[in-house]
C-alpha cells in the first residue's frame, strides 16, 4: 500500500484559504456552548435572588468585592496583554510575542491563585456550598469560571511552549487566545451579578 501511495501520480490538493481555521471553528462552537452555560447559571441566580426576601441573607459572610475588583483588573490586563501578543504574532514577529504572552499567563495565574485564597478565607468564615443559596450560587458560578480559567491557562502555557519552540501555528494561537478572551470577558459579567 505504501508503494501504491509512493507511485501515485496524482498531485496533492493545493492548500486553500479558509474563512476560518478548523481549530478556531471548534473553539468558537465551544465558546458558544459555554456562553449559554454561564447565561443559564446567571439566569437561575437572578431569579433566585429576585425571589429572596433578603440578599445577601442575614448571617452570611459578605463577598470581598473590593479585593476582587483588583483581581478583576489583573485578569482584564492579562486579556489585553494577550491581545498585544496576538497582534505581534500576526505581524510576523513571533519571537516578540513570547514576552507579552508569558506576562498574560502570569497575570492569569495570579487571578486564579487570588481566587483560591479568597475561597479559603470564605470557607473559614463559614460560607460553604450548602450554607445558603447565596453561597451555593457563588461557589458554582465562580468555581465554574475558575475551572475554565485553569483549563485556558493550561492551553496558554502549551501555546507559549510551542511558540518558544517555533512550532505554534496561527490557528493554534487563534483558538487558545479565543478561549482566554472568553474567560476574561465573561468574568466582569459574573463579578457584577454575583459580587455586587
Amino acid at each position: 500500500m505504501d508503494a501504491a501511495i509512493a507511485t501515485d501520480p496524482r498531485p496533492l490538493p493545493a492548500p486553500t484559504r479558509k474563512l476560518m481555521p478548523d481549530a478556531v471553528v471548534g473553539m468558537v462552537l465551544f465558546v458558544f456552548t459555554e456562553t449559554m452555560l454561564f447565561a443559564g447559571l446567571i439566569s437561575a441566580h437572578t431569579i433566585v435572588r429576585a425571589l429572596a426576601s433578603e440578599w445577601p441573607p442575614a448571617g452570611q459572610p459578605r463577598l470581598p468585592f473590593r479585593a476582587t475588583m483588583v483581581n478583576t483588573g489583573a485578569l482584564l490586563a492579562s486579556g489585553a496583554i494577550l491581545a498585544v501578543a496576538h497582534r505581534t504574532y500576526r505581524k510576523r514577529r513571533p519571537a516578540d510575542a513570547a514576552g507579552p504572552m508569558l506576562l498574560s499567563l502570569v497575570l492569569g495565574a495570579f487571578f486564579v491563585l487570588f481566587q483560591g485564597r479568597e475561597w479559603a478565607a470564605l470557607l473559614a468564615d463559614g460560607l460553604t456550598l450548602t450554607s445558603s443559596p447565596y453561597a451555593s450560587f457563588f461557589y458554582v458560578i465562580v468555581g465554574m469560571h475558575a475551572l475554565h480559567a485553569v483549563a485556558a491557562l493550561g492551553a496558554l502555557g502549551w501555546a507559549w511552549l510551542r511558540l518558544r519552540a517555533g512550532r505554534l501555528s496561527p490557528a493554534q494561537l487563534g483558538a487558545v487566545a479565543l478561549l482566554w478572551y472568553f474567560v476574561v470577558l465573561v468574568w466582569p459579567v459574573l463579578y457584577a451579578r454575583v459580587y455586587l
Binding site: 490538493p13 474563512l19 458558544f32 447565561a39 425571589l51
Partner: protein, 84 residues
C-alpha cells in the same frame, strides 16, 4: 357529523373550560414586580443570546468572505492559494 362525534366534540370543548391556570415555576406566579422583571429579563436574554451569537458569527463570516474575495480578485474563499 354523527351523534357520537357531536358528543365527543362537545366533551372536548367543555374540557377546555375545566383547567385552572397552570403555572410552570414560582417565578411565573409571583406578583412582585421585581420577580416578574427578573423572570422576563432572563427569558429575553436566554432567547436572544444564541440567536445573537449565531447571527454575529454569520455576519463576521460574510464580511470575511467578501474581504477574501476582494483580495483574490474574482476568486472566492476556498480557492487554491498561489504556489510558492
Amino acid at each position: 357529523m354523527t351523534f357520537r362525534r357531536r358528543i365527543a366534540t362537545l366533551v372536548v370543548l367543555l374540557l377546555t373550560l375545566a383547567p385552572e391556570l397552570a403555572h410552570a415555576c414560582p417565578g411565573c406566579i409571583d406578583l412582585k414586580t421585581k420577580n416578574r422583571v427578573a423572570f422576563f429579563g432572563t427569558t429575553i436574554v436566554l432567547s436572544l443570546l444564541p440567536l445573537g451569537m449565531v447571527g454575529g458569527m454569520a455576519a463576521w463570516l460574510r464580511r470575511r468572505a467578501k474581504k477574501l474575495t476582494s483580495e483574490n480578485g474574482d476568486q472566492g474563499p476556498g480557492t487554491p492559494t498561489p504556489g510558492p
